[in-house]
Amino acid sequence: MQKTRLFRLPLLFAASLIIPTTYATDASSPVQPYYEWKVENYEIKQPLGGLEGNAVRGKAIAGNQSRGNCLACHLLPIPEEPFFGNLGPPLTGIGSRQSTGMIRLHVVDQSRFNPETVMPGYYRTPAQLNRVAKALKGKTWLNAQEIEDVVAYLTSLK
């Protein structure tokens, strides 16, 4: 594990030299620029790219197996779905337990909370990743708009 982390250091260094502004997103997401994000006290306070999220779209992304697929690991208040995983904690009522900025960081890069997490970083800096499938190289899982939509949905779960 230590080795893997060290292996990434030159990549991180390279990434800091070339400011990544042209990352495309996942094959099935519309292409959007990659917006830099900043963590303050376990929160990303500013919406990615200043975009406004939509909770209805966010719910669809969270429930879609080939998009967010949040319910593969989390319990969510989506009664029409038959299966939920229990790898992660239930997210029912998450909006009343955590701030929007904290929820945003959870979705963007959960490893900032727990380095050993199995949760994908849906907007983790692509240059930090190892051996990504060729078709997805340099891309984030969700694009900035989709992240904001999911954040808006989770924030609405009071």
Binding site: M1, K3, T4, D26, Q65, N69, L71, A72, C73, P82, F83, F84, G85, N86, L87, S111, E116, T117, V118, P120, G121, R124, P126, Q128, L129, N130, R131, V132, A133, K134, L136, K139, W141
Partner: protein, 261 residues
């Protein structure tokens, strides 16, 4: 009160290393077969030779086993009809170190080598259906035998390399094998239960994919889930991973063809 008598000191000196050993043993994971994580219906399917779809692959392998190659000989010419002359304890010890090739040889690698050298071809692709069928048939002969891979001596560096790969993060999902199959075995991922990722049921049958798979194909499936670039079926990486994964399951019983998610 004299607590620290000589005999007491002796007792402590004796138990201290024992305690340490017990603790470290408790920390290490006891191997559990993927069978134990199946639903009762799937378990029933696995142990029923007529209900287990993986048996079709085993049966196809049995036909190939006695099919003559270019020099007129077949596997059965040396190993007996139905492979009865094969040593099942040896089958359970793959991958083994080949002093000739100076590298580990997987069971499939050994079969392909025989196919080329002993029966004169035709050569089979490592990833071909025929190679998988032959491997499934031969491994099935050792059904119920204890997995026993020797990773001492020359095998040690390959085991370590495989272990390292098992703990390497991959793909856009950016997680390593052990994070799911050590930390989260038994938990639910959507409709499936995560297992320890043991290989004693392989070659086996993937219920969700509806096809027979062996360890290399299964790892490729996992890498696809991780949105990572897979390796070639006969790559050094997969061989090293098979060395580590099989040895990690030392003590489990061979279940080929195991039914898995």
């Amino acid at each position: 009160m004299k607590i620290l008598t000589l005999s007491n000191c002796f007792f402590f000196a004796l138990t201290l290393p024992l305690t340490t050993i017990t603790l470290s043993a408790a920390h290490a994971q006891q191997p559990v077969s993927g069978y134990d994580y199946l639903t009762p219906e799937m378990q029933e399917m696995q142990i029923d030779d007529f209900g287990n779809p993986g048996m079709l692959t085993v049966d196809a392998g049995e036909i190939l086993f006695s099919t003559a190659g270019k020099n007129g000989k077949s596997c059965a010419s040396c190993h007996g009809e139905d492979g009865s002359k094969l040593d099942i304890k040896h089958i359970a010890s793959y991958p083994v170190y080949s002093t000739e090739l100076k590298k580990p040889l997987t069971l499939r690698g050994q079969i392909l080598l025989c196919q080329d050298e002993r029966i004169g071809g035709p050569s089979l692709e490592h990833s071909s259906a025929e190679a998988l069928q032959l491997e499934a048939f031969v491994r099935r002969l050792a059904l119920g035998e204890t997995v026993n891979v020797d990773v001492s001596g020359e095998m040690a560096p390959y085991y370590e390399a495989g272990k390292n790969l098992f703990h390497t993060r991959w793909g856009q999902v950016d997680i390593a094998c052990h994070q799911c199959h050590v930390y989260h075995a038994g938990r639910t991922f959507r409709g499936q239960t995560l297992s320890q990722g043991q290989s004693n049921g392989f070659p086996g049958y993937r219920y969700t994919a509806g096809q027979a798979v062996s360890t290399p194909e299964r790892i490729t499936g996992c890498l696809a889930n991780l949105r990572a670039e897979p390796y070639a079926s006969d790559s050094v990486e997969y061989i090293n991973l098979e060395v580590y994964m099989n040895a990690r399951g030392n003590g489990l019983k061979i279940e080929t063809p195991g039914i898995r998610y």
